[in-house]
């Protein structure tokens, strides 16, 4: 059974432990600006929204890559950037309609969530269980996908 990140924004306190854990896992420094997961703060509403790649079936990033630098990890289903192959053209960053692929100026490559190979550091670090890594049918993602496809009948099916 594939697993996915389940995000419950109402539990988030905006502490950024997830961002630090993510950047530490991936970049060996505590650096929110390099995190693959980001907390957005709706200040006037007192709301926080953790946000990262949902590993969508459509995989716009993967299809738009001109050099096959984004591939699917068969174990986790994650779309992973192969850093050695990425040329830093940034096409995936504009192609991903969710805005979850970012360009890293320091490495000259793009970065996105890869579910840490199946053990997401963000979920482990979250002190309030706002981010958990659960079986995919518990995330509600499938329901959302079904809903979206009903709403938009001409949608692309996963190729």
């Amino acid at each position: 059974m594939l697993r996915a990140l389940k995000i419950e924004p109402e539990k988030c306190t905006g502490c950024l432990q997830c961002e630090m854990a993510c950047s530490y896992e991936n970049e060996q420094v505590f650096n929110p600006s390099k995190s693959r997961i980001r907390i957005f703060n709706f200040h006037d509403e007192g709301r926080f929204a953790p946000y990262t790649c949902t590993q969508c079936a459509e995989a716009w990033c993967l299809h738009s890559c001109p050099v096959e630098a984004i591939v699917i990890n068969p174990k986790t289903g994650a779309k992973e950037v192969i850093e050695d192959v990425c040329v830093g053209c940034k096409v995936c960053t504009i192609a991903c309609p969710f805005g979850t692929v970012n360009y890293n100026h320091d490495s000259g490559k793009v970065i996105k969530c890869d579910l840490c190979g199946g053990n997401p550091a963000c979920a482990e670090a979250c002190p309030t269980a706002a981010i958990t890594y659960v079986d995919i049918d518990q995330t509600g993602l499938d329901r959302m996908r079904a809903h979206a496809q009903k709403t938009l009948p001409q949608s692309a099916q996963a190729a």
Partner: protein
Amino acid sequence: MAAAKKKPAARRLARPARMRHIIIGAGPAGVIAAETLRKLDPNAGVTIIGDEREPPYSRMALPYYLSRKINEAGTHLRKTPRHFKKLGIDVRRDRVTAVDARNRQVKLAGGGSLTYDKLLIATGSSPVSPPIPGMDLPGIHPCWTLADARHIAKHARPGAKVVLMGAGFIGCIILEALARRGVQLTVVEMANRMVPRMMNTTAGGLIKQWCLDKGVRVHTSTKVTAIEKGPDGRGLRVRLDNGTVLPADLIISATGVRPNIGFLKGSGIKTDHGVLINRNMQTSNPHVFAAGDVAQGLDFSTGEYSVQAIQPTAADHGLLAARNMAGHKGAVHRGSVNMNVLDTIGLVSSSFGQWMGATGGDSAELCDRNRFKYLNLQFKDDVLVGATSLGLTDHIGVLRGLIQTRTRLGEWKEKLKHDPTRIMEAYLANTQAVGFNAGMI
């Protein structure tokens, strides 16, 4: 798919009519279409015909080859050895000279012809050589093929005087690569700014200023009137209409491209600027489809059919064309959003959709000339229809997301007009409830 792998023989027996798909062109649109066809129909014959000798590669990657970020293999569209063979996709090096639509055949330059059930035209485009005296002199190259890139790599040595004709999208990504090679670079652009088809006056002007600050000479609103041999017979001289004469060791021509449709003459397949297609990626002939830079497809923003010639559109086209070729109902093109992202010597710019604005629409703009930061959002009613940015790289994909889902921004439109940098908040506030915006294509 797993089941199909196990019982290919049984399938073959059950379906005697094995489909024959032919794809002309080995670029991203053609390759994605071929792979998709293979997934959708494990038994179909899938043939790609490409006229370059290299394995299918990406023109997008050439600048990175030039800047030595990757080697030639790094430009290849697929990295796994024998990728196409493993998938049972036949990649042929040949050139299609004509399409005989009546007999469903393509004629090959190498002799003979191939019969298809469904044909995909994904022949891309070729650089246009401007009508300037001296364009045929040696030392003038386009930067379009790997072969071109090899030539340029050989001549663009540190200190070499290089004149780049054209500061469009392609010109600008080559510019980055050339700057990294340490050449003395001069750019000549006819329009009044850089990247005129992707950036408005303010943003294009800022990119020019950025280049000037980095030591690149830039002439905008300037035409090349002639190219001549150098006085001592070595090198070249470029005459500009502002009277300047530029000595050059190497001239790179990036003045535009044109869809490769010449071979369709007489086929009955209708063309305009590119190959005309409907929302099923189908040409005027129901068995022939087109995708990528050669196709004049639906533009999401304008509702018109135009040639976009960008990588994401080629990918969209390739996927959809394959689905339609495989007979999938409902694979209807919703239109592609025109968009580009560009890195000009470290200054990242992007534009989306109707970045130039929509009739009756309004906009929000922030500009910090000192720091080369720029953000411009274009609205129609409370829907985002276009955007331009300089110096923004985080989460820029949501600009596409908001445009393509035609998300009604409601109260967020006013917030964005007041402060356009809150785009990510606006996106999340308006989409997080649904979570998924599936159905982009």
